[in-house]
């Protein structure tokens, strides 16, 4: 726990000290702002669907970019040798990296609170879908960060890490589209594993336990794989 906190804080601080996090957050705010402002849902329904819909896809991209350096750079610069020879469990290291990047995700999401605040000022939005939507984004973002950390643990090349993370995430996201071409039973099954399947419910204001469990399981699975990947590198 202590070790996890130490690593998470170090990671969070180094995000704040480098331009990358600011650029990612900036682009995220600009793009989702454009979608929010131009979406008919904003004016007609006074909802943040315009933001949530675009935000969910952008999160996949930005999670891959934010996490790419977390382990790949340590491996490349040799600083992984410091971390792996410190009395810190591999799981604590991975969790620390995860929590650190989760901190940036939270900052990014908090900065978007001005969308619902604007709606509150000029209308009477239904807060249910807004709360559920944010929960959905947070869960989806967390799962994406976990995938990114796993990808970053595989290589010392940050570009490779981003591409692998992006590849896994978009495959998981768009798997649902593939489902409509499959026989119904199989299609339904595939849908269950798609990152995009549960998200619309959250947007509508429904917090489906299966959705929550799904995103948490994806997060746990990829964090576990990242830990295994570190352990494996000791056997290399």
């Amino acid at each position: 726990m202590r070790n996890t906190t130490i690593i998470a804080l170090k990671e969070f601080k180094s995000y704040l000290a480098s331009p990358m996090a600011y650029i990612v957050i900036g682009i995220f705010l600009v793009l989702t702002g454009v979608f929010f402002a131009t979406s008919p849902d904003t004016l007609i329904e006074t909802s943040i669907k315009g933001f949530l819909g675009s935000g969910s896809i952008l999160l996949l991209l930005f999670a891959s970019v934010l996490t790419m350096r977390l382990l790949a750079e340590e491996r490349k610069m040799g600083t992984l040798e410091l971390l792996l020879t410190a009395p810190v469990r591999d799981s604590e290291l991975i969790l620390g990296k995860f929590v650190g990047s989760l901190g940036i995700l939270i900052v990014m999401l908090v900065l978007t609170f001005y969308y619902p605040i604007l709606l509150r000022l000029f209308g009477d939005p239904d807060m249910g879908p807004i709360t559920a939507g944010y929960l959905g984004l947070f869960l989806l973002g967390g799962a994406s960060l976990a995938v990114g950390i796993f990808a970053s643990s595989l290589t010392s090349n940050q570009i490779v890490a981003t591409v692998v993370a992006g590849g896994i995430l978009f495959a998981l996201y768009f798997m649902g589209m593939l489902a409509s071409f499959l026989p119904e039973a199989l299609g339904k099954f595939v849908n269950f594993f798609s990152l995009s399947y549960y998200f619309p419910d959250f947007m509508r204001g429904i917090i489906d336990t299966r959705g929550v469990i799904y995103y948490l399981s994806i997060t746990a699975l990829f964090l576990f794989l990242a830990i295994r990947s570190l352990e494996n590198s000791r056997w290399s």
Partner: protein, 309 residues
């Protein structure tokens, strides 16, 4: 303090460390000497917990590297060959992070940073970004990181590689100082370094230990035979010839005005040499017995091994 038993490491199919065993007692400074690719880094990485061995076992500070890896890592200070530094951190924040990872509490960290910065002569640079430091300084930050938690055992992988001569001398001095309080295993491919810093040497080549002993014992074990350096004035071509005739001398070579005489094992022909000098009417400038240098030992060991195969 360190016990290594039949340690073997394969990288895929490549054998990097081949069934090595050795012991290091508390308080010793031991040199781990070998050419590039001998397996020094691999062995040290296993001891430090960065890598796991393919087979074999080891103990550091009485903890097992396989079953008590976290304990081992708690009691070891490790300077990797590529010094693991974050260039966007200052020395202070880096040492603070390293100390936190080692489990030191806040109060102790502040005091220890002051101490190690002084030991490593980094006082004036504590608030400088590591990326702006020269290699010699970076190396010392690496050492500072390794000793911040006052570990019983220090493992230093080529601590003087790639830094300028003044820094090398400073780092060696620093290591000797550290040797008063820590058990140290230090790797190098610089032969003279071992005799300057270490009490004992383990020589490794192609993953195998070729020799292991105190520096004095090693030279007598390998050499067995005595070497004598002779310097005479008015030398002539006949000197070598005459010297060769002396009983107990196996080989004579000339280096300028000096002659190196290799004696047969167990012989001490110094008296006979003196007689010969007098008989031939040479003027004796010096006659001394020379010890084999580590260079000679190493050459002898590695070539002996090659001819065995």
């Amino acid at each position: 303090m360190i016990k290594v038993e039949n340690l073997t490491k394969y990288y895929g199919k490549r054998l990097a460390v081949d069934n090595i065993s050795f012991n290091i007692d508390k308080g010793e400074i031991v040199g781990f000497l070998g050419p590039n690719a001998a397996g020094k880094t691999t062995t040290m990485r296993i001891l430090a917990g960065f890598l796991l061995p393919t087979s074999g076992n080891a103990w550091v500070a009485d903890y097992n590297i396989l079953s008590q890896s976290l304990q081992v890592r708690r009691h070891i200070g490790y300077l990797p060959e590529a010094v693991p530094l974050y260039s966007d951190m200052t020395i202070r924040s880096y040492l603070n992070f390293a100390a936190q990872l080692r489990g030191l509490d806040k109060k102790r960290i502040r005091a220890r940073i002051e101490e190690v910065v002084e030991i490593c002569h980094l006082e004036e640079y504590v608030d400088v970004l590591i990326g702006k430091l020269s290699r010699g300084f970076r190396q010392r930050v690496g050492v500072a990181q390794a000793i911040i938690h006052e570990p019983e055992v220090l493992i230093l992988d080529e601590p003087t590689i790639g830094i300028d001569p003044i820094q090398v001398a400073m780092t060696r001095q620093l290591i000797r100082e550290l040797g008063k309080e820590h058990t140290i295993l230090l790797s190098t491919h610089v032969l003279s370094e071992v005799s300057i810093i270490c009490q004992r040497v383990i020589i490794i080549n192609e993953g195998k230990i070729v020799a292991e002993d105190s520096i004095e014992n090693l030279s007598s074990m390998i050499g067995g035979s005595r070497r004598i350096r002779l310097e005479v004035s008015n030398p002539s071509a006949k000197v070598v010839e005459r010297l060769c005739q002396i009983e107990g001398i196996s080989r004579v070579s000339q280096e300028g005005s000096q002659y190196i005489l290799e004696c047969s094992t167990g012989e001490d022909p110094r008296e006979k040499i003196m007689e010969s000098v007098v008989q031939n009417g040479w003027t004796l400038l010096s006659l001394e017995s020379v010890e084999m240098s580590l260079e000679d030992i190493f050459l002898k060991l590695t070539t002996k091994k090659e001819s065995d195969q």
